[in-house]
Symmetry: C2
Subunit: 407 residues, 2 copies
């Protein structure tokens, strides 16, 4: 009798050995025992146990409850660990050791894979920023004068970053329509998503030492899908002059899987032409590796596809964001997370927020289940994505999903 091995993946499986994203998992028999897992197909490899079984020097780094020790180990370690993992899941001689350490994905619990240090959210899609500007500031220019000179960003709340699958309680707060005499308090009536790609920093940097464009891959370990839940009514009333605060800080969902940058070499693309000359610290015209990533995102509301935002078209790249974030001497810590900003393309069905998809609720989406503007209690939003991999195989990004619950 021959049973198929979990390592015998279908051709073109987006979670094949060319991908190998990292997460943190536990099993029902030991729910407190969190450790690093690596996804292969529909299974999770207990990476620390595999390293131990195969005598790898990285066993101690992988048998940990978060990815932070691996993140802090630096680029050489990232490359070595990835090379070892690739061998473990592809070399037939390792199968007897590896197969018992594979857990079906639907039997494990996935946890927030890293301890977040600081969290910064950017605003890097020209289409998104233009749409939002038109909606929120109809009397002004859509883009502020600084927008094409620097990647605009702001700090968000690290402590409310939650792993995919966590329910999101509808936030309460103040809102005030221009015609209201005074603000009112209650549950947000304009609860929204923002489809983003997040990046996590591994290698820290020293206070006072900017990280230049070319050092991006030395500091950033990988990327993942991120949903920056947003309460538009709360945000609109609070955000002038110091920016978004409670309209964002109630929850930010991230995928349980971090895709290492090394898996995305084939997905690198040049960013769009820039309309203005960039200051030297942001000028990537001569970059050895193109700064963009060709990631195709799909956003589903209750299982229904509502948007396909293209990440390749982002005006500002992740390397530029990192260079900007540190150019004033601000230091990086292992576990710093930053979001790209909402990914929106030029087409209507490429917009990464319901604010844009419904033009602030004035143009409802026509779904098979009826007209929809913002999120209702019980709604489930799921984002998935893929990027081109080697030899035409797709690299799957782990999904990020969340359900809205009454609070």
């Amino acid at each position: 009798m021959s049973e198929q091995s979990p390592l015998d993946l279908a051709e073109g499986d987006p979670f094949g050995p060319h991908n190998l994203p990292y997460g943190v998992f536990s099993t029902p028999d030991a729910p407190e025992h969190r450790r690093v897992g690596v996804r292969i197909g529909d299974h999770v490899l207990d990476a620390g146990a595999a390293a131990h079984a195969l005598g790898s020097p990285y066993a101690a780094l992988l048998a940990r409850p978060t990815l932070n020790p691996l993140l802090a180990a630096g680029r050489t370690a990232w490359r070595d660990v990835r090379r070892a993992l690739t061998a473990w899941v592809t070399v037939p001689a390792h199968r007897p050791d590896i197969e018992p350490l594979l857990h079906p994905l639907d039997t494990v619990t996935l946890h927030l894979p890293y301890e977040v240090a600081d969290y910064v959210d950017f605003y890097a899609s020209e289409h998104h920023a233009t749409n939002v500007g038109r909606i929120f500031r109809p009397d002004g220019d859509a883009l502020t004068p600084n927008w094409k000179h620097l990647p605009i960003g702001y700090h968000g709340r690290s402590g409310t970053i939650v792993v995919s699958g966590t329910d999101v309680a509808r936030p309460h707060g103040q809102r005030k329509a221009p015609t209201d005499p005074a603000p009112v308090f209650g549950p947000s009536v304009k609860l929204d998503i923002e489809a983003e790609v997040g990046f996590v920093v591994g290698t820290p940097s020293a206070l006072g030492s900017p990280v230049d464009l070319a050092s991006f891959e030395d500091h950033v370990f990988g990327l993942f899908l991120l949903n920056d839940w947003s309460a538009r009514d709360i945000q609109a009333w609070e955000y002038v002059p110091l920016g978004p605060f409670l309209g964002k800080s109630f929850a930010t969902s991230v995928s349980a899987w971090v895709t290492p940058l090394e898996a995305l070499t084939a997905a690198r693309v040049a960013p769009p032409e820039r309309d203005f000359p960039l200051l030297p610290y942001l000028d990537d015209a001569d970059a050895e590796v193109p700064g963009g990533f060709d990631i195709r995102i799909a956003v589903a509301l209750n299982g229904q596809l509502v948007a396909e935002p293209p990440f390749a078209g982002m005006y500002w790249t992740a390397a530029q964001q990192l260079a900007h974030m540190t150019v004033n001497g601000a230091s990086l810590r292992t576990g710093d997370v930053y979001g790209s900003g909402t990914v929106s393309g030029p087409e209507r069905d490429q917009r990464g927020s319901f604010l844009e998809l419904t033009w602030n609720g004035t143009e409802p989406m026509e779904l098979p289940t009826g007209k929809r503007t913002f999120l209702e209690d019980g709604d489930v939003v799921t984002m998935t994505a893929w990027a081109p991999g080697p030899d035409g195989v797709r690299v799957g990004l782990g999904e990020v999903t969340g359900r809205i619950v009454e609070s």
Copy 2:
């Protein structure tokens, strides 16, 4: 021969047994051995060693490299530890045990006393917000329409909070005067301070559970002076529409000493009359304990007094800020820090920033050493403060100081 004991303090010493602020220190013989210290006069008591010597159950909590375990222990533990410390430094029978554990302040190194989780900065002085509005938005209303309805705040960078005494490198960044054709890059030419009071959270809260006004003392352990260094030229160019970012994120200095709220009972004062009715979650009209703190701050530039900002006049209180920060369900973590926002009073010499003191550089300060607008390399800014204590004795707040260095 009778030598005076470090515990025989001069009458009215602002760091007497009525104060007992907490910090983290090390000594030159063991620079890696960080542990909790309590300031008494000009000495630091090794709190963990004292607890051990006297058989206190809190020895393990105090012999730690940060205050976080004590912060996380909660209000009952805070009260018990403070009661024990008070006895140790006042009951004569304890002197033989305690005196050997006192280190002269000028022989120890003081460290950042807590690990910072999230950092939020508010904007709670009406005088400051009005001044800044007039300077930055001369064509609009000085206060935005939301200002008197909610305590405006934003998240800052936790990773660049540094302890008093740390040099501050002048940040580089983009700036653009309205008349410039394009932004230029270079060292900030408008480097400034913001005199603030910071608060540190001890007891965490659950995601989805707002912390109401009455629970302030259950969650917040203590307060301290904070200098929110600001590069006004960088800030002015970047901050629309998402708020301050690189103009602030290069450094925030905090005092090495955290004054427990329990030491400030006599300093509680009612905040100013509010001009608009407040929504119930912010309405403190019937608060049992008045929300304000009568803290008198002094700001010195190179030893010269330049401002005396009065904290008692802040429009929004720390309890209101905490209630607002969590009303959307955002959770608190041990080590969350929040700043009051720049403290400015109605008088010119009560303004807590050079931006205001010099009206954005157009009205230089006349100092004995010459005219001054913003900070120059080599400048040292030192803030000190005190508050009324029991029986007319002052409660001293630990200073926060920093020197500007070329970068």
